[in-house]
């Protein structure tokens, strides 16, 4: 551990995540990490690598393929004063935990009159690319946003993932911690010492006056790339990362949309009944003047594997930039960013292994 902070230290998302867990485990003996493969040589894409060696098998252990029961175990351990981090290598598997998450974790503090609290973290990863397909790529967080008692956070960068994980572990409520596989290799300046990033505080990542673009999870990255493309069309977009979806900092988004008059929400999920619907509704309910609002997200289909169709399934910097331009200049002819520029702005495709 360093005694000096190097503000320029660059760390990947996955390493920031691992560092946060290690620091929280060192700070609090009640923190433990469990889930299928957390102590495997692959260690959840490396996000739990080294924890077993550092903290031992009582605090870092794999589980049977029993997501439902293991969620209940995390809940019980949390009620008993521990702070479990339950890890899933894909968010899709949370469907096996929904009974415990919705009927027990979310409700226990309330339905037991405050006699217990459930300080647990559920880490889960969204996949994309390399043909991950129907059951390895879903952003299902809106299902959990629906239920009072759960917190839902989806950090988009290495700095936030470290700070949010610390916040999540120290929070006295169940926190659904949504990670995106494509973010794992992205880098940011990350302080070495432990710090927290508060929930309920959106981050304005880029300032602009023409349109407010909100990007959730990995879509924040795509929105930033779209904002770069929009510069060539003379449009300065404000880009906001909600960071946490529950609690949601709707005030910051509303204030920005009020200034720009335009709100484009780009979700890493389907738009129907999703986070984007919630954000748009929240802004419309609060805005003191009319705001033009649009949503983008997954195509309303099951995610296909073939690259041609998978490409069309997701919003990308080009489609986001085109949509924003259309909002800013509704009467002008459609604009397309320079293809070469767009190619450079487009994310590097993940090629596996998954």
């Amino acid at each position: 551990m360093s005694t000096q902070t190097d503000p320029g230290r660059v760390l990947t998302y996955v390493d920031a995540l691992r560092e946060a867990q290690a620091q929280e485990m060192a700070r609090d003996d009640n923190v433990f990490v469990f889930g299928l493969d957390v102590d495997d040589h692959r260690a959840i894409q490396g996000s739990t690598r080294g924890l077993l060696e550092a903290f031992g098998p009582d605090r870092v252990f794999t589980t049977p393929l029993s997501e439902d029961a293991m969620t209940g175990v995390a809940i019980g351990a949390a009620m008993a004063g521990m702070r479990p981090i339950h890890v899933h290598i894909r968010m899709d598997f949370l469907m096996l935990c929904m009974n415990q998450l919705v009927n027990m974790a979310a409700k226990s503090h309330y339905m037991y009159g405050g006699q217990v609290s459930v300080p647990m973290v559920v880490r889960c990863m969204i996949g994309k690319s390399w043909g991950q397909g129907a059951q390895h790529s879903q952003g299902l967080y809106s299902m959990l946003m629906h239920v009072p008692g759960l917190k839902v956070v989806a950090p988009s960068n290495a700095y936030d993932v470290k700070g949010c994980l610390a916040t999540a572990v120290r929070d006295n409520n169940p926190v659904i911690f949504v990670e995106h596989r494509l973010l794992y290799s992205t880098e940011a300046c990350v302080p070495e010492e432990s710090y927290t990033v508060p929930f309920g505080q959106a981050r304005t990542v880029r300032q602009g006056d023409a349109v407010t673009i909100v990007g959730v999870s990995n879509m924040l990255v795509e929105c930033l790339r779209a904002a770069e493309l929009l510069v060539e069309a003379g449009i300065e977009a404000e880009v906001i990362d909600p960071v946490s979806l529950v609690p949601l900092d709707i005030e910051t988004i509303t204030a920005s949309a009020g200034r720009t008059g335009r709100l484009l929400v780009v979700d890493n999920a389907w738009t129907n009944c999703g986070a984007s619907a919630e954000i748009v509704a929240g802004v419309v309910e609060r805005a003191s003047r009319p705001v033009m609002a649009r949503r983008m997200g997954y195509a309303p289909v099951t995610c296909p594997t073939t690259p041609v169709l998978e490409e069309a399934f997701y919003p990308n910097p080009v489609t986001i930039a085109m949509k924003a331009n259309e909002m800013v200049r509704p009467d002008m002819a459609a604009w397309q960013p320079d293809p070469e520029h767009a190619r450079l702005a487009h994310q590097t495709q993940f090629r596996g292994p998954f």
Partner: protein, 321 residues
């Protein structure tokens, strides 16, 4: 006020006191229910008292129990606060959860009652989580997970058996087999009734107690929990019993056609409340009965005279601070 206070000098006295209190509490609930003052669905344990009482009498004060929506018996047998329970059922602020929980989510952490759930099987893994925490802390206490025969059909039950055995968790699984899941008898739900055999394949010792005898249940619990405290891992008990009343509500439902009175009468003929009562001196029993009536009357009065929660309470305890 625990029901198994030191004034109860012998086991027979304690067991009778437990069964009698649960029976009378629930009869009182059934009596009050039509008045609509109880603001909660109730699942009565009348006829099933001996399981909770036999098991809980073998526990130490620091042990935990978790239960299902038919939880009054375990709650009371564990010494859960009777005033708070009645207040909760009346929807009053002084209830266990300020009136937010009702009958199906009784909790009393002061008496180590871990809570109860309306969704079948959901409390079993939560009980395991407590057991995991106990083991991490090196404590000798144990957790009892009460559930019905229906819960053994849920996948999570099997996931829990496997995990508890794998981790040698100090959990006593107690199946209160009243032979009905809502209105469906075992014959329509189980290919075989060899539940204990199924459990044993996970590496968990299992015992079946068929006659509902409180002393047998107590003795068996003592035996397996004694081993559990020395690190033997989980154990399982299937206790046959019978629900005298309807699935939910205060009445009987023998006219509904899904079961008949013959089975009921067989169980009533060996009513544990009667059998245990007969072991007591008549004067002692009368004193116990009177004490129980006083306690119940006090709890009902308390609940009736307590205020409802303020409307702002709707928004408290959604999130923990």
């Amino acid at each position: 006020m625990a029901i198994f206070s030191n004034t109860a000098s012998n086991i027979a006295n304690r067991l009778y006191r437990g069964v009698r209190l649960i029976r009378r509490v629930e009869e009182e609930l059934a009596r009050i229910y039509p008045s609509d003052r109880i603001k909660s669905p109730v699942h009565l344990s009348i006829g099933q008292e001996s399981v909770a009482v036999g098991v809980c009498d073998a526990l130490l004060p620091e042990d935990f129990v978790s239960a299902t929506y038919r939880s009054h018996a375990a709650y009371i047998a564990r010494g859960g606060n009777l005033r708070a329970m009645f207040a909760e059922l009346f929807g009053k602020a002084a209830g266990n959860a300020g009136g937010k929980a009702g009958s199906m989510h009784l909790i009393d952490m002061a008496h180590h009652v871990l809570g109860a759930s309306a969704v079948v099987g959901t409390t079993i893994p939560v009980a395991l989580g407590y057991a995991l925490a106990i083991r991490r802390r090196g404590e000798a206490r144990v957790v009892v997970a009460f559930f019905g025969d229906g819960a053994t059909e849920e996948g999570v039950f099997h996931e829990c058996l496997n995990f508890a055995a794998l981790k040698r968790l100090p959990v006593l699984f107690v199946c209160e087999n009243n032979q009905f899941a809502i209105h469906q008898p075992l014959e329509k739900r189980w290919a075989t009734d060899r539940l204990c055999e199924r459990v044993e394949t996970y590496g968990i010792p299992a015992a079946r107690i068929a006659d509902g005898n409180t002393d047998t249940i107590r003795a068996k619990t003592q035996e397996v929990i004694g081993r559990m405290r020395t690190g033997a891992g989980p154990a399982f008990m299937e206790c046959l019993t019978y629900r005298w009343r309807e699935h939910v509500g205060p009445g009987e439902d023998y006219d509904a056609g899904y079961r008949d009175r013959v089975a009921l009468e067989a169980w009533q003929a060996r009513d544990e409340m009667v059998r245990l009562g007969e072991q007591l001196n008549e004067a002692v029993r009368a004193r116990v009965d009177a004490e129980i009536e006083t306690r119940i009357a006090d709890a009902v009065d308390f609940a009736e005279s307590s205020p409802f929660p303020a409307s702002e309470e709707l928004y408290t305890n959604v999130y923990a601070d």
